[in-house]
Amino acid sequence: MNLRSIHTLWIAAVLVVLPFLFEDFTVFQINLMLVYAIAVLGLNVLTGYGGQISLGHGAFYAIGAYTAAVLMEHAQMSAYMTLPIAGLISLVAGILVGFPALRLAGHYLALATFALAMAIPQLLKYDSFEHYTGGVQGLVLMKPEVPFEFELFGQELNDDRWLYYFILLVGTFIFWVCSNLMKGRIGRAIMAIREQPIAAGALGINLAAVKTMTFGLSAAITGIAGALGAVTVAYVAPDSFLAFLSISILVGAVVGGLGTIWGALFGAAFIQFIPNVADEISKSAPWAVYGAILIALIYVAPGGVMGLLRKLKKGDTA
């Protein structure tokens, strides 16, 4: 057995035992962090690898969340089954947004997607859908039931811990797919377009198709995260998906390191836990503290956490 697979085994063992080392509430927080990690990864595919800035990924997260919620509430579908459908609907939404966005570059794309983020809470309140979406009141969901009883370290396998394994499984799969995709031909095409669109076109890459598909893939991943988020919180409402969510996802992508796969985990940890830290430090201006931490981090690690780690590994102090 080589060193690498021993490492992998160790990490796997820790991940399996992890939820039993913490109390319920912390497991819930870890679940949310994993969900955000998937959402951040989705945006990273588009922004980090594809070079297209989106300030509207909260909208795809919301679409995924509502797809899961509506299917569970009105079609009595199990939470697990809603994920592929949420992914598919977000994929279509992403392509629909991505196609016209082809003509918009850089800042203009950022603004166009931001409009989407602003619009989504109001659309979710829209009257004609109210029967399905629950309007302003939103929908209260049932968490999936734990299929068997189990106990470890005196902690029972409750719905939070069960959900942890489910999210971990889905997350691992998505990270694995993205990692392979980005290392391969498609990933190279996506990055070539980011670096030199004209050269990429000259090499025979279909710019429109690749860009649109990148948008769709990115939206689908974030949509799946949204569906998982809805199940974790067990509640959806339009006010859960305000424009700030989109900005948080972008913050996560930048903090973790744009154009990296595993950076999403660090970025998610940042957007999940730093607001709480800031709230502990100052009750009157928590977001000012958050801003200060963010600026400090970007100053110390301009390439995000992954950039910093890479630097440390190389022993490069420049």
Binding site: E23, D24, F25, T26, F28, Q29, L32, Q122, K125, D127, G135, V136, Q137, G138, V140, G229, V233, A234, Y235, V236, A237, P238, D239, S240, L242, F244, D279, K283, S284, P286, W287
Partner: protein, 401 residues
């Protein structure tokens, strides 16, 4: 023999009584010690509804006042108030943190309809009291379905019913036109009016709705006038309320105008709409308006002012949110006082459902009253008429009690 038996039964009775109190005391809620009661709360200190954060500041200040005066039955209040930014997922996280990590005895005075909806089921399934939530939706008073949740303020349906009673009393042949916002809030009011009118529901000759995204409600106003309405029930938020008042004046339409209390603010509605445009308009109120000079001589209000001056010296006395916070906190303290030394969650809830009290800043004659089947603490209101300068209270106290 007889005496012996009597003595024995007394002894057994006493022993039973002792053991039962001991058993009860052992079941105190988490967060309760001999010296402290831990109470949790979620508030939008940041985000779109951060103005309401003032209520949370008032809570904190009031509990400080309670602690400075010896606490409740010898226990100090340890008040934990966390920011949820008016975002439901954050509310879930913060409330779970307070219940599972901080181990609070109960959640008190959380603000907002979507935020409270997000933890409604969770708190009820964990049997944690969710007391005096701050939202006017009707669903918070459901002792059967959600026995661990209770609202506080008069709900929108109750207010709609009050206007219906007044219309039936003063103008039984009125033709009512309703303008309402097309969401839960607007529909709750409309339902209250319809329920209040009962068999005479047909008095409503027209009901027009608008969306919050509509630029103006001029068309709806024209339609209501054209339908021949001589009584106007205005269920709108401040911006639209001001537009409706202006439009009615422009059209020369002079119905008896009932304005929902959501938009009765002198500063943000009545004066911008043209103070003289709505003379005679009717609204309803239950808390003392801190800008109204008539309360200056009221004992309850003077106590409030003294408390505010001492515990929130920088606060703007005109902000009625401090009045709201003060009134909620007083109610909370009464529940804990009544619970005495049995601070189990069940008893806290039982006491909350057994209130009959006056609160200094509630208008005279309006009480906080609950029962095991009535989870709506404040349901009464008094009507007020706009004089062109301020609201003048008139008539009896309306409502069920």
């Amino acid at each position: 023999m007889k005496i012996k038996f009597a003595l024995a039964s007394v002894a057994v009775g006493a022993a039973l009584a002792l053991s039962s109190t001991a058993a009860l005391a052992a079941k105190n809620a988490p967060g309760v010690t001999d010296t402290e009661i831990k109470i949790g709360n979620h508030m939008p200190y940041s985000g779109p509804a951060s103005a309401y954060g003032a209520i949370g500041q008032a809570f904190t200040a009031y509990f400080k006042y309670v602690n400075d005066n010896g606490g409740v039955n010898g226990r100090k209040i340890n008040f934990i108030s966390l920011d949820d930014g008016y975002s439901p997922p954050k509310t879930v996280e913060q409330v779970r943190k307070m219940v599972e990590q901080e181990k609070v005895a109960l959640i008190f005075g959380g603000l907002g309809t979507p935020t409270n909806s997000a933890v409604h089921k969770y708190l009820n399934s964990k049997k944690v009291p969710m007391l005096f939530v701050q939202t006017g939706a009707t669903k918070w008073g459901d002792p059967k379905g959600h026995p661990w949740t209770m609202g506080w303020q008069p709900n929108y349906q109750a207010e709609g019913k009050i206007y219906a009673s007044h219309i039936l009393e003063t103008n039984p042949n009125a033709k009512i036109g309703v303008l309402y916002q097309n969401d839960d809030y607007g529909k709750d009011y409309l339902k209250g009016l319809e329920d209040g009118l009962g068999a005479k529901k047909s008095m409503i000759v027209a009901a027009a709705s608008y969306e919050t995204s509509d630029p103006s409600i001029d068309n709806q106003m024209v339609a209501l006038k054209a339908a021949g309405a001589n009584t106007f029930f205005n269920v709108t938020t401040p911006k639209f309320a001001a537009q409706a008042i202006k439009k009615a004046a422009e059209m020369g339409w002079k119905p008896t105008h009932y304005l929902n209390s959501v938009s009765s603010s002198a500063g943000s509605v009545m004066i911008p709409a043209g103070a003289e445009n709505c003379i005679g308009c009717i609204t309803s109120a239950y808390l003392m308006d801190p800008t109204d000079p008539q309360w200056e001589s009221n004992k309850g209000f003077q106590e409030y002012k003294a408390w505010l001056a001492k515990y929130m010296p920088d606060a703007n006395i005109k902000n009625n949110l401090y009045v709201t916070g003060y009134a909620h906190a007083i109610t909370m303290m009464q529940v804990l006082k009544q619970a005495g030394n049995d601070l189990s969650r069940a008893n806290i809830m039982k006491q909350a459902a057994n209130l009959d009290m006056e609160v200094g800043v509630l208008m005279p004659g309006i009480k906080v009253k609950t029962s095991p089947t009535d989870f709506y603490p404040v349901e009464n209101k008094q009507l007020a008429r706009w004089t062109g300068k301020s609201w003048e209270l008139f008539g009896p106290i309306y409502g069920p009690k």
